[in-house]
């Protein structure tokens, strides 16, 4: 305890140390971050939301991982080969890689992990629904594992970071009758850089670094990660003020960021992400089945006001966020507010001239900025001759409504980011007919032309060819206008001046891999 700490805090640490009988660390770099929701599960075969992935990224390693540019990097696998037709992937494991219990990571662990994932069929399993089946993965020797896909799928490599390898022996020992689901819900059997120290479900999770991590450690590495569950803005502010918090969540109110950034010892880390924010328009029900109505909505949207006053964000001009620079179609201009354009488009539509045009606008209940955007939409569109019904719904309900064309609202405010770092994730999940019926595809585009372009890009391993196809696809989708392209989400964190390493990564929660962060000051108590 080199630095004076509040008495209660210091003694709490002493007590914790006493209770777990761990040697008290003299000095360590501690990152304390708040999360706005609890950690539901830490079983890598069941993780779904951002906190669950956040825990998994730190507790487990995958065969590969991903960087801020969306590039696939080696992790447990030191190299890999891809067959020419993108259907056979061979990974060579790092022979020095070990799990946290010291046992080596072998090809059998990988096979076990994938089979378990497919058998439980939850969490990341949906990524492999069409491409992997039991027996698709084989261990050819201790350190070589071969994936044979049931169809060509060039983005396969990009999905692999979501497969977190579990320690087969350890899980089998504790398998029970549910393939270790009970065990892994609260225990870790991984090779990740951090070990689970304590977890109080409702309020906190603490990780400490694994001194023997096979990947080694850099200077200023984070020794301990503490996540506090609180979405209360006042609490977050007072924690930051008292120095107990080193990093906020990305979901605080603008006022909170401003207040904390103004405090001594904090800065605001901001990054535009690959998460896009859309009005998803149901293209199959009136009046949004008419492209002119959809264009009118696009013209009547005050993008600057939304981006500058309501929700800070970057420009989005096509369905694909500009972070995918290689694939982005830069010829398409960014949309702007133009009420004359909106009136013309309405006049050209088949709903013109009669009674007010009814339209349903849905958004996530209880989200202040979404409600503000909805009210803005309502005020603008009613002046243009629409009759707007606002329909705030809990998120679960929206995912249900999205299940069928008839229940999908005319317009829904939705954030969608890539679940794996490939444009395919943006296009396939949102616009391909095979993926219709989820919250991500509330447009119901159902277009053969769109499907065939997406399939063509999947079938080729040639990046230039893919880029060409994706640019054409963007132009086509802007033409069809199934969405209003509002903005790309800007992720913000108020962070301690001592902490660096935050970078937006186009895959859920990989930006919170604490192994990549560095503490630049003297260690704190």
């Amino acid at each position: 305890m080199s630095r004076p700490t509040p008495l209660a805090f210091g003694s709490a640490c002493a007590l914790a140390a006493l209770m777990i009988a761990a040697p008290a660390m003299a000095q360590s770099n501690i990152v304390t971050m708040n999360t706005v929701q609890i950690f539901g599960t830490i079983d890598p075969a069941k993780i779904n939301d951002y906190t669950e992935y956040m825990a998994a990224v730190n507790l487990y390693d995958g065969l590969v991982t991903v960087d801020e540019g969306g590039n696939i990097l080696p992790q447990l696998a030191e190299s890999w080969e891809v067959s020419d037709d993108s259907s056979v992937f061979t990974f060579h494991l790092n022979p020095n890689a070990t799990f946290q219990d010291g046992s080596p990571v072998t090809a059998d662990d990988v096979v076990y992990t994938v089979d378990r994932l497919l058998s439980i069929n939850q969490g990341p399993a949906y990524l492999f629904a069409d491409v992997l089946e039991p027996g698709s993965v084989e261990a050819t020797d201790d350190h070589t594992v071969v994936f044979t896909l049931s169809q060509t799928f060039s983005p396969f490599l990009a999905t692999m970071p979501a497969v977190f390898i579990v320690n087969a022996d350890l899980v089998e020992e504790n398998a029970g009758d549910d393939e270790g689901q009970t065990y892994l819900a609260t225990n870790v059997a991984g090779a990740g850089p951090y070990m689970l120290d304590s977890w109080d479900r409702g309020s906190r999770m603490t990780l400490t670094r694994d001194e023997n991590y096979y990947g080694g450690w850099h200077d200023g590495a984070i020794d301990e990660v503490r996540w506090l569950v609180t979405n209360d803005e006042a609490t977050v502010r007072s924690l930051a003020a008292s120095g107990e918090l080193t990093m906020t969540s990305q979901y605080q109110a603008t006022e909170t960021y401003d207040a904390i950034a103004a405090m001594d010892g904090f800065y605001l880390a901001e990054e535009d992400t690959a998460v896009a924010f859309y009005y998803k328009l149901n293209t199959q029900v009136p009046p949004t089945d008419d492209v002119h109505i959809r264009r009118a909505i696009a013209c009547a949207t005050d993008y600057d006001l939304i981006r500058e006053v309501i929700l800070p964000g970057g420009v989005l001009s096509t369905p694909l966020p500009p972070l995918f620079a290689e694939f982005h179609n830069n010829d398409i201009p960014a949309p702007t507010l133009d009420l004359d354009c909106a009136r013309e488009e309405i006049a050209q539509s088949s709903y013109a001239g009669g009674d007010p045009i009814p339209i349903v606008h849905s958004y996530v209940a209880g989200t202040a900025f979404e409600e503000e955007i909805a009210l803005l939409f309502q005020a603008t569109m009613e002046a243009l001759g629409f009759e707007v019904t606002l329909q705030p719904e809990p998120w679960n309900r929206i995912t249900e409504l999205a299940g069928e064309i008839d229940t999908t609202p005319n317009l829904t405010q939705v954030f969608f980011g890539p679940t794996y770092p490939s444009p395919d994730s943006m296009f396939y999940t949102q616009y391909h007919s095979n993926a219709a019926g989820t919250w991500a595809s509330m447009e119901w585009v159902l277009s053969d032309e769109v499907d065939s372009l997406i399939d063509a890009a999947r079938a080729t391993a040639d990046v230039d060819e893919q880029a060409e196809i994706y640019r054409e696809l963007q132009a086509l989708l802007v033409e069809i206008q199934p969405d209003t392209f509002l903005l790309t989400q800007r992720v913000r964190h108020a962070m301690s001046d001592c902490l660096t390493g935050f970078q937006a990564i186009p895959m859920q929660s990989f930006d919170y891999d604490m192994y990549r962060y560095t503490w630049t000051c003297d260690p704190n108590g």
Partner: protein, 303 residues
Amino acid sequence: MAVLNNGSAPANVEEAVPAATISNAYKNWYRFSRNPTAVIGAVIVLIVISCALFAPWIAPYPEQVDNFVDFRARHLPPSWEHWFGTDNVGRDVLTRVIYGYRISLLLVVVVLGLSIPFGVMLGLMAGYFGGWVEIVIMRLTDIALAIPPLVMALAITAVLSPNLMNAMIAISVLWWTWHTRLIYSITRTLKTQEFVEAAEILGASKFHILFKELLPNCVSAISVKATLDAGFVILIGASLSFLGLGVQPPTPDLGTMVATGADYLPDRWWQSVMPGMAILFAILGFNLLGDGLRDMFDVEDVR
């Protein structure tokens, strides 16, 4: 709050006092007007009702009720232009409070309109018929009363989707029990009295006895209870919408306004404090008026 709606402490339930007949309107009025709290209550209730009825003429910015945003005027503190300040999309809070009373009173009218006839009917039957009817009805109310009302309303509104209609249903589902208990205890006392026995001897139909003999004697108790209830229906409705399970935007609703405004505490306190005061004001009015009416009608046991 629940106890106010309930009969009373169990020790007294059985000794409910029969309602006084409204024999002398002037005497009653005199007694009422001498009771300062009752008069204050009546004035408050009158103000609230006027707000609801004449909102478009009273509210300073009636055009800002729905379909209005002005992001340049958001979060303005109270001033001469905006007595209660403006909210997060720039709407005048006072205007929305005045319109908010419409929703509150609508809720009251519908909930009481549904639950009083039903509850009174069951109470009359249980009290007069006794036997199995009494056992079934009264045990049913006991079971219904074992669930905290707000919890039940929360569960029902959540299960159905949250909106004004379902909030009304959820509250009504529970509310009849209080009236059943009240009328039951009054009826039980009344049925042994001479005028009922006389009607029975004269061969009056059960229908006649229930609705022509017993019911009129419950009217003053019911009206006192209904007045007190109005405040609590507003309260429970506001609690529901405070938790996000009631009226949905942009409809101006007081509970929702408090909840939305709470995001901006403490710096922009007016956004939740002003609507909160408005709720308090209305509930206070109905309570004072109810107390006054109770004294006037001399129905001590109605709570």
